[in-house]
């Protein structure tokens, strides 16, 4: 049985990005309709060629970085390619950052406003990271 899973990602910390990517990828490849909304500090990591270090929130983040855990961006991309997930940048965050869609990773879907995302998320699972 499939379900709709909506994931809001606002943190730029490694642990939260990793957990969000895990939920998105496993949820999507398990037949669920997954929609991710990237905003606030999370969005900067999805600018093409982003090279800024990903801050660790705690010790586990350092462990993740040191071990061969799948990179969160790889997992998000696999959610799209293998599970047809939709990953939307927040239009407000794009305005604040002064970036256009072409500046973001090409596997992201179109920018979305919060009103539309919340409307789509009605009566569905919602996870926030």
């Amino acid at each position: 049985m499939s379900d709709r899973i909506n994931i809001i990602v606002v943190s730029g910390a490694r642990e939260r990005l990793q957990m969000a990517a895990m939920v998105a990828s496993v949820g999507a490849v398990s037949g669920n309709e997954v929609s991710v909304f990237l905003s606030m500090n999370a969005l900067a990591h999805f600018v093409r060629g982003a090279a800024a270090p990903v801050p660790n929130e705690g010790e586990f983040g350092a462990l993740l970085a040191a071990k061969r855990a799948p990179a969160f961006k790889t997992l998000f991309e696999q959610a799209v390619e293998l599970g047809d997930a939709k990953i939307h940048p927040c239009s407000m965050a794009m305005d604040v950052m002064g970036i256009e869609p072409a500046a973001l990773e090409p596997w992201l879907s179109e920018p979305l406003g919060l009103t539309k995302f919340l409307d789509d998320a009605r009566d569905a699972q919602a996870w926030t990271f």
């Binding site: 895990m22 990828s25 496993v26 490849v29 398990s30 071990k67 061969r68 696999q78 293998l82």
Partner: protein, 76 residues
């Protein structure tokens, strides 16, 4: 003719082995067997769970020297 493919995901952590299996599934034909090698114990539980959920065939799992061999058949 059905093939037997080995997916070496040793050293990767959850959900890496599962995602590598699914990528391999996409490139396989119905009836092909895929054997995942994983050192991640959690994946040894998660992969059979996923296989049952999506309707493929779980053929078995065994551990040898710290490496899990998880074998499945693409059923659809």
């Amino acid at each position: 003719m059905a093939e037997h493919k080995v997916i070496d995901a040793r050293g990767s952590f959850c959900p890496g082995p599962l995602m590598e299996l699914i990528a391999g599934m996409k490139l396989s034909q119905v009836g092909d067997e895929l054997e995942v090698l994983s050192t991640d114990k959690g994946s040894a539980n998660d992969i059979p769970e996923w296989i049952h959920k999506v309707g493929h065939d779980f053929l078995g799992a065994r551990e040898e020297a710290g490496v899990w061999h998880i074998t499945v058949r693409k059923a659809k």
